[in-house]
Amino acid sequence: MSREAPVLASSPRQAIRPSRRQFRMRRLVGSLTIHVPLSLCGVVMAFPLVWLLSTSLKDPGEQFAFPPQLIPTPLYLKNFTDLFRLLPMWLFIFNSMKISVLSVVGGCLSSALAAFAFARMRFRGRDVLFAVLLATMMIPTQVTIIPTFVLMRLLGWLNNHAALIVPNVFGSAFNVFLLRQFYRGIPQDLIDSAKIDGAGFVRIFWQIFIPLGTPALASVAVFNFLWSWNDLLGPLIFLNTQNNFTITLGLTFLQGRAGETRGHWGVMMAGALLGVIPMIVLYLLAQRYFVQGLARTGIKG
């Protein structure tokens, strides 16, 4: 289903033809009644993020200026240098990147393999296993977190990034479900002709399903990245020395430490901004997949 199709469909208003002038007036009024509330709300929605950027660039005095100023003069970059002096922010970002990227790569690969088998292969126990998989989607993470902690302690992985990466590498029910739906839509003819050419399932998976399934896989990847990057509870439970902190855990730590700097709130906002920027970059690169992924789960879920 194309996202743009309904826009092209003719509007019901055109069924009754008004004169050209009337039509133009009506369109103007119509677009005003839409644009005015939308842009007002847009300002309200965007303001907090603008304020984040603005405060991060304000000197200590200006942060408390009355009335508050939107555009900092002069631009005060010392909040950022103070921040990096206070805490190893680059290390936090690196840790988050490492955990998220490894989780995404492993999680996508294992989920795609399973999704392919569930969608396109015959094996005993398939339906039972798939039902169990779907049932686990009901289990809240909080129910599993204590036993997972116990397991990680047993493995000696407390305060180790493996505790946050390895569970994701085994894939997830959500990923498998989404990919399976997509793989079921790939024509059987492609598989049959590949089989005639002597391709085995591994080759069919790798050379047909991986390339054709890229949009679904990309959606799964961006959501997995988002969850890994934004997770706080996991790092809070598993990590306890500063050098292992993720960006989210580092930021909660910064809450207690920013008071040591001159630019207190500015330094906090600078830190918060560092957490947001990579996600904005990801959104700009992959916004299609965010939206498609949501639409897919929303409509067919």
Binding site: A15, M45, L49, I139, T148, N230, I247, M269, M279
Partner: protein, 304 residues
């Protein structure tokens, strides 16, 4: 000959079976290790007293009884979570629907609007909550400044036990709005224009078109958003943790935050697991209720 041919065919089938099991093995193992085992183990732990140091000691239903009778915080956590769920779910859905209807028009700058609404969704809740701590600052926060301009003396927001939960709710609605908008937009674009054209010919006005076409045809999507929002709301942790650490005076203590406190700072794994199971039961019950109630208000087009 016939026998040999059958043997090779079943050989192929066996090979397919083996390959398939190899393909699902990682996910199956993951489900076993990180879902099935934990769910059963935490059920067991919830009936024990365990501090991670000495082996778990069987305690029967003591932990559950404790939570509902002698524990001071748990009832508060339940009520707070209920307040959060009520405060975020219904207004969140209603607002998202309004925006989705506006954004579904043929307007310029849809890309810009969508980015504005969506950035809070993808940004880490930790960053967002740190930002709102500053916005909510009673003396220097920009929110109370804005209120002062229109002649209102703002409340102390997160510093006040009466206002702390509403503060968390407002922030949460702001943050999750874009998520619901995107799902609603996808739903709206799935509604066939034929219905609207037929209605226009019949002379139906905008309100009638909305209530007789849009609302019923969108109801499966609304249902999906509702189920998801309720589940997410019950699991709230990060926003109140960063904004208030559960305070002041437990005013923003939620079920999951209490679970975390019992398990990790206090190491009472038995009580924490009992809390987890209570949460699990509540989520399953409310989801089941939602599915039961959908018969009343969710409209499915014939043939879908």
């Amino acid at each position: 000959m016939v026998v040999r041919k059958r043997a090779t065919l079943s050989g192929l089938r066996r090979q397919e079976e083996l390959t398939a099991w190899l393909f699902v093995a990682p996910v199956a193992l993951g489900i076993l290790l990180f879902q099935v085992y934990p769910v059963l183990f935490s059920l067991y732990i919830s009936f024990t007293t365990w501090n991670l140091i000495r082996p778990p000691r069987w305690a029967g239903i003591t932990n559950y009884v404790h939570l509902f009778t002698t524990d001071f915080v748990f009832p508060t956590a339940l009520l707070n979570t209920a307040e959060y769920a009520l405060g975020t779910v219904i207004p969140g859905i209603a607002l998202a629907l309004v925006f989705a209807l506006l954004l579904n028009q043929q307007i310029r700058g849809r890309f810009v609007y969508r980015a504005i609404y969506f950035v809070p969704v993808i940004a880490p809740t930790v960053s967002i909550a740190i930002l709102w701590t500053w916005i909510y600052d009673p003396s220097f926060g920009v929110l109370n400044y804005a209120l002062k301009i229109i002649g209102i003396t703002g409340p102390p927001w997160i510093a006040d036990s009466a206002w702390a939960m509403p503060s968390v709710i407002i922030m949460a609605i702001w943050q999750s709005l874009g998520f619901n908008i995107v799902i609603f937009l996808a739903g709206l674009q799935g509604i066939s224009q034929d219905y609207y054209e037929a209605a226009a010919i019949d002379g139906a006005n905008a309100i009638r078109r909305f209530s007789a076409i849009t609302l019923p045809l969108l109801s499966p999507v609304t249902f999906f958003v509702l189920v998801l929002s309720v589940i997410n709301a019950l699991q709230v942790f990060t926003a109140p943790y960063v904004l208030t650490r559960g305070g002041p005076a437990n005013a923003t203590m939620t079920i999951v935050m209490y679970l975390y406190n019992e398990a990790f700072p206090y190491q009472s794994m038995g009580v924490a697991s009992a809390i987890a199971y209570c949460l699990f039961v509540i989520i399953v019950a409310l989801t089941a209720l939602n599915f039961y109630l959908q018969k009343v208000w969710v409209f499915y087009e014939e043939g879908t």
